[in-house]
Amino acid sequence: MTDRNFKKKTDTEFVNLCSELARPANFRRRVKLFHHLSQVSPFPHLVGFSGLPSYEIYAERRSLVSSDHSFLLRILHDQLSGRLEAHLLHPSEHRYRYTFIVLESLKHEFLTDFHGWAFLSQIEEDRALAAVSVSPPAAVFELKPDDEPVLIFAEEELKECRLKTEFFSVGPQPTLKVRLVNLPEDSEIKRVVLVIDDQETLIAVPQKDLTFYELPESFRTLRIYLYE
């Protein structure tokens, strides 16, 4: 390969690496969801014609299920705030908490919270919900201050995965350094999510298996979620 080509190749590689920060995750571990016929809501008929404000706080817009019916995603319209919300249900807690809901057609991903809720911004329902998949975390670690991170959940492949964390309290804000260790050969962690006190969520794209997070002054619990 000539120097020039090499340079070009490395340039392209470089551009790609940069773009990865910006692009959607393209998770490898994904569960596709299909539209589910659910019961037509009787609410509008029950109260709608009375001229009273709708007491249907939540109106179900759509329902999506995985092929094995273990995942149920309910898209609901909050009549009070006018927002569209997604509620992800699964028997296992690690499948609906902090799970990515990927709207393929919009190339947008939303992260559910501790209860499985995600607030979808203004989207065109029909187009947006044409192809939906969910990407639950592949591994979950819990961090206690002055302690090593503890693996509380992991898929088979990542059972051996570990984290090395380091706190830096100098600088403008306390910083947490996270290094992924002992990852299997073919695995590629696309996203690392830090959840602070089940309130704040920080989503990072790891570089060289490393991420740095700026933390608030005080916090109690930290959890780290890895997504392939």
């Binding site: 692009r23 350094k177 990072a204």
Partner: protein, 357 residues
């Protein structure tokens, strides 16, 4: 387009993209371009600042660059970039949209440079310095330096630092456990930012000023060097470099501007004195002042950017390096030292006066 022009264009692009981001009205391509621009902007800084570390670890400059930039682009639950938006908030962007491009450039570089230092600092634990390589470099430098002799004793390499006018005294052997003293000296002398050759040259100078010779092992010197660098980084990240900017807005507050004006008046007086004593030429006086001005600006932006000679050379290109070294350097260094002292005292006064500590 000249490099400068293209650089300015890049910065302008960055500003616009930042505007889109803050308004949460951006496309994926905007984001990509912004990241790319920032990475491109930071890469030279990486190359410049990381010399030591790059050679120490398996990180490519682009890895460092990406790592640093990626910390700016961490998203929160709402899909916003909290870190980025804090550093480039609406007020700042608005200001820079109408300000000079050079101002934004300085601000941006300040930010990036600081973030870079932080990254280095965070990585410092990771980094296994390539001791052998550094050791070789130190040895090479010491051999070439006057005032320093290399001895090999019992398989240990020792360096003997002689004062300029050595007496007949025996050299004091610096023990290993006294190496902290050495590190302290190095830090006080501000050697943290220097590369190996300059570092040791300066160190020798400092040690030569003493009256007695010092003998120190190469290993000690090696550790000293590494420690100094680490600590220097720590202090840089922790305290921040001597900046004259207030609350990171990028421009000097009015008090600082007044101080700088006062300072320049003072320096002018000083230079006049040199002039009357025929230490400097009339044309040079202006060059000195401008160079000092540049330096002060760079102090505001995060620190000295280049060697002092280069500052002066910009405005007085006819001065050769040799001439500088012989005659101009002392003047310049004196002016800088006195300016620094002046500012320190005045800033302290201001701080205590306003009740801030």
């Amino acid at each position: 387009m000249s490099r400068q022009a293209s650089r300015l264009a890049e910065e302008r692009k960055v500003l616009l993209k930042l505007l889109y981001i803050i308004n949460n009205n951006y496309k994926e391509s905007d984001l990509e371009e912004l990241i790319l621009s920032m990475v491109r902007l930071i890469l030279p800084l990486v190359r410049k600042q990381s010399g030591l570390y790059l050679r120490l670890a398996g990180y490519q400059p682009r890895d460092i660059a990406l790592l640093t930039i990626s910390t700016l682009f961490i998203r929160n639950k709402q899909g916003r970039f909290p870190v980025l938006e804090k550093l480039f908030n609406w007020k700042i962007i608005e200001k820079f949209m109408v300000a000079r491009e050079a101002d934004f450039r300085r601000y941006l570089r300040n930010i990036l440079s600081r973030r870079l230092k932080q990254t280095f600092y965070y990585l410092s634990g990771e980094i296994q310095p390539e001791r052998a390589k550094i050791r070789r470099e130190i040895l090479y430098t010491l051999k070439k330096l006057p005032g320093c002799r290399i001895n090999k004793e019992n398989g240990r390499t020792m360096a003997v630092i002689q004062p300029e006018h050595p007496g007949r005294t025996k050299p004091t052997i610096l023990k290993e456990d006294q190496s902290d003293r050495l590190v302290e000296i190095c830090l006080n002398q501000g050697l943290g930012s220097l590369q190996v050759p300059k570092f040791f040259r300066r160190l020798i100078e400092v040690l030569s000023d003493r009256k007695s010779p010092v003998e120190v092992s190469l290993n000690t010197l090696l550790e000293t060097y590494i420690e100094t660098q680490k600590n220097f980084l720590l202090s840089e990240v922790g305290n921040g470099p001597v900046t004259l900017s207030s609350s990171g807005t990028g421009t000097a507050s009015p008090e600082i501007s007044d101080l700088l004006e006062e300072l320049q008046v003072r320096n002018t007086l000083l230079l006049n004195r040199y002039l009357t004593r025929n230490k400097i030429r009339k044309e040079e006086k202006d060059a000195y002042l401008r160079a000092l001005n540049d330096l002060f600006q760079d102090w505001q932006d995060g620190g000295q950017e280049k060697s002092l000679y280069e500052y002066l050379k910009k405005y007085a290109p006819e001065i050769s390096p040799g001439e500088y070294r012989q005659r101009k350097r002392k003047i310049l260094e004196y002016l800088i030292k006195s300016s620094r002292d002046f500012l320190k005292i005045r800033l302290l006064e201001q701080h205590s006066a306003s009740g801030r500590t």
